[in-house]
Symmetry: C2
Subunit: 266 residues, 2 copies
């Protein structure tokens, strides 16, 4: 069983390298940009073609596995039984379009609802992060150190400015209090990478009220391997069946934010 | 005269490479971290030693020139006459400490108050940006294209979450309106780099109410070479004699933000 997982993780990395080459080629040609749920929810032809690439590779290698992907070319699942691949072909599409950097491929394998391995690849920076459950997390081949407990006063917290404006998901006045108490705030616009920054200690926390399983499926496995806590904004476990908010943070900071600053309206 | 400037710009780049090697070495040893004006205003021994390195090199090569630096080892100037070097040894010290990336060296030469050349070096990414006034701006040796006019609805704006909380410098309610109208917002915590992202089209605007000349001296020269507008938050020209706010944006976005969203309290 564990040998199998290592082989599958190496295969998945090969597919990611293939997808990355395709994305780099796309920088030379014009993108087709559409919007999804709203004017800021962007999708390009590259997002869609990269998802199809992954689905084709997985279907050939593992025809009996389920696949959940952002662009909807995979399966709709209602149960977590068996092998489920969870894919975001390009997380941070706005950055992909505007910056050609700060976006990532996120890919995870779950078996019976439990994370087996997760990979996040920062395409422009060529930073490869991965973890196999129980075997630790790695960045570019180097084992990532366990993340220690911390305190909000010394924390750099990633939170988008949107959540400091009046909105239907969070009490924005409490987020303003959080911002005043933290050492500093940042926002990068790519959930998978912001999770990796917490996992590698570059950020102390990242929170956002609306994500889908493909955004956090790989990151949650990484977090678990280094002692970082990743939950919904209500402190519940994340599920690959449901969209939810995300709070990922080092111990101490996670508890403080959850208890004192995050008040969900829904 | 112009030959001289090219020689000086090449010399300055050599000093930057030397400083960069010193900073990379520092990643292996413990930092001495102090605070300056408040608990979030950090400085390390490396900031100070890198500034001294630049000052030593400039004093030997150009003993008659004035030097203005963040850490205060240079001169205090009250007039802009003659040759003035403006240096930030590490812009983004909090990122330097927490992330070992997303910080920059910023160095500029002004003659009689006019920008002659500016260099911004992203140490961790090894991205070198420079401009000589009237000769264009370059990133890693490639000429940066002129930045076209744009619209706020399609703009990615960098603004720190702090300015969406009640503060003594800006009407934060207006900034909330700005955030809702822009396509997206980001925050990177390094003014010199955020200016470079606007100059290279990765961001459409960056605003902040409190900077010093060493933060923007090089970036302002870069901006001017690609048609990006850089002013104070009141729309006035930037000066190397004064601390001020900064609004740097592509045409159209700059005017819209200045007219409709930025209301200074002081």
């Amino acid at each position: 069983m564990m040998e199998n997982v290592t082989v599958m993780r190496e295969q998945a990395m090969q597919w990611i390298k293939e997808a990355s080459a395709y994305i780099h080629d796309s920088f030379q040609s014009a993108l087709t940009i559409d919007t999804k749920s709203n004017a800021s929810d962007l999708v390009t032809n590259i997002d869609q073609e990269v998802e199809k690439l992954f689905i084709n590779r997985i279907r050939v290698a593992y025809p009996e596995h389920a696949i959940v992907g952002e662009e909807g070319f995979g399966d709709e699942i209602e149960r977590t039984d068996g092998y489920v691949w969870v894919i975001d072909p390009i997380d941070g599409t706005m950055n992909f379009i505007h910056q050609q950097r700060n976006f990532a491929i996120s890919l995870a394998l779950y078996i019976d609802g439990k994370g087996v391995f997760g990979i996040v690849y920062d395409v422009a920076a060529n930073d490869m992060y991965y973890a196999i459950s129980g075997e630790g997390a790695y960045m570019n081949g180097t084992k990532i150190a366990r993340v220690e407990e911390g305190y909000l006063e010394q924390a750099v917290v990633s939170v988008n400015a949107t959540w400091l404006t009046e909105n239907r998901r969070l009490d924005h006045e409490k987020i303003a209090q959080l911002v005043r108490r933290a050492r500093g705030t940042r926002s990068y616009g790519c959930a998978a990478l912001e999770m990796m920054y917490v996992v590698t200690g570059k950020l102390d926390a990242y929170m956002t009220p609306r994500l889908a399983p493909w955004d956090f499926a790989a990151g949650a496995i990484m977090a678990n391997e280094v002692g970082v806590i990743a939950t919904t904004l209500k402190g519940e476990p994340l599920s690959i069946l449901h969209k939810s908010g995300l709070l990922i943070a080092r111990r101490g900071v996670h508890e403080d934010m959850l208890t004192n600053y995050i008040v969900c309206k829904e």
